[in-house]
Structure formats: structure tokens, C-alpha cells
Symmetry: none
Subunit: 135 residues, 2 copies
Amino acid sequence: MIPKGETMAIETIPALMKQVYRDDQLEIDFVRGQALVQGNQLVLTRKEFELLAMLAANEGEIVPREVLMKRIWGYSMEIRTRTLDVHVRRLRRKIMEFGQPCIETVFGVGYRFQRFRADRQRQSYSNVACVAVPA
Amino acid sequence: MIPKGETMAIETIPALMKQVYRDDQLEIDFVRGQALVQGNQLVLTRKEFELLAMLAANEGEIVPREVLMKRIWGYSMEIRTRTLDVHVRRLRRKIMEFGQPCIETVFGVGYRFQRFRADRQRQSYSNVACVAVPA
DNA sequence: CTAGCTTTTACATTTTTTTTACAACTTGTC
DNA sequence: GACAAGTTGTAAAAAAAATGTAAAAGCTAG
């Protein structure tokens, strides 16, 4: 159960966004709250799923730490804790169990989810700093 | 079996739903309010039956606690009580007497009834957080 | 009043989330 | 390159939250 009367961060997914994300390794059902990696069910906690959903919904874009913090943890979260990092780590680990890495760190800014395509090598991405993500 | 001619929250079962649920271990007659496990009559109280019906009617889907609370107990039920859990427990116990477990807990969200198939291992399911279940 | 059903209470247990304390890494500057 | 300052990664512990349970208390139709 989502803690009493709190809005789920999932509402933050762009309204026009498909209800499902899919690439060659990952499949996420935003509505039903399920995720598969290479066909294997990902067993995620609430925060882990929200994080993955948020990143995948902005696939290819850098999502700044502050934005993740604000939307998933609410406005007040202090910047000095490692909470976000810990969640990212656990999420990455669970995905890695069956698949390829898909969450990259953009130093000084945030994280970016990269779509996976089986038919080509994973390219590397520029580590840019300036992004505009709607608050 | 449901005690004599009482109204049941069975109205909550989707109108288009079949009047009977059946798998390899369980058989539920929503209309008559009867349930069999491996051929054995389940003696259920009203609330227990409503709970089972509600879950089985949404077989394979997570039914959030709030939804169960709202539909079976009405809107006002406080979140702090253990009423739902107690009923789930008694229901599970009665089913276990003759059969296999079929009600799983989805931490932080609710419960899910899983269809039983004699011919395959029980798979595991993700513990996702965000589900949309019609209110 | 009684029997059976339901809810509450009071903890126990489990699961998730956050914090802590460092290690490791980036980046800019000498 | 070496350093400093700032950022991110990590394991492990602590804290918080959610669920499980037994037993008692409360209700209600007969």
C-alpha cells in the first residue's frame, strides 16, 4: 500500500507516454507495476520501481539528482544523504542479474537510462552537464 | 459455504465476470457462494468468501489493500487495523488444509490470487509498487 | 443468553528504506 | 602528474514501515 494518501511518483510519468516501455532487454509496465529483464521478472521494491520508471520514462535523457529526489522522495530530502545512490545501486544490481547495464551516471548531474538494442554494440555517451529537465 | 440468504459484497465482482472460477485445485461459485478445494467443501464465513471471491475474480492481478478495504469493509475502515490481515490469514489456513497456497502478499501494495496449475512449478512474481486498480 | 463471526489489541516478524562511515572516482588547478 | 575539493559507490548497521499472529473483546442473529 502506498503510504496514506500520498501521491505516487508514477503520476510524474508524462501523460502522453505509453503505458509500457520496451526495448530488447527490458519491458516495463508502468500501470501494472511490473518489469521484466530478458523475460525474467524483476522483483523490485516501491522506490526501486519508481526510480526505474522515472528513468525509463525519460529514456535517453539525463534526469538530474534533484529531480529524482524531488519526485520520488518529496521536496525536503537533503542532498547530503546517499539514499538515492543506494537505490540506484540496488536497482542496477537487480537488472544486472539477467541483463546489461542501462543506468549511467552523469557526474555532477544525475542519471540517464539508455535504451538497449540487441543488434548493436552499446555505444558510449557524452558526459555532458547541461540539461534542462522540467521541474 | 455462505450462511443462508445474506447479501454479499459479491456485487463487487465485475459484472461481465464468469459466475464461476475454476482451476486445478479451486472451484468457486460466485453466485451460490460456494468454494471447493481439491473437491473438499470450504467452510467460509461471509467476509472470508468475499475476500476470496474478490481476489479470485481478479486472478493474476494485484488487488491493493485499500481496494479490498473499500469494497469489502466500506470506505471508512482505518488503515491501522489488522482486520484484513486476520481475514487473509484465516482464509489461507482454510485453503491450506486441503490445497496449495494461492494468495500471495505483495509487500506495500496488497494481495494477489494466483491460479493453480497442477502441471507446473509455481513461479515467483515481482513485488512491484505501483498498480492501478479501478476504484 | 449463546454461538459464531468479526474486530481489536499487543507484539513478533519480515521487508524496505535510510543513515553512517569510508572508499573510490572526477574534475579543476598547480 | 600530484593535490584538493567535491561527487559518487558501497557495505553494513540502524531505523522505519508493513505484515503475521494469537488471544481477547465486541457484536449480532437466533
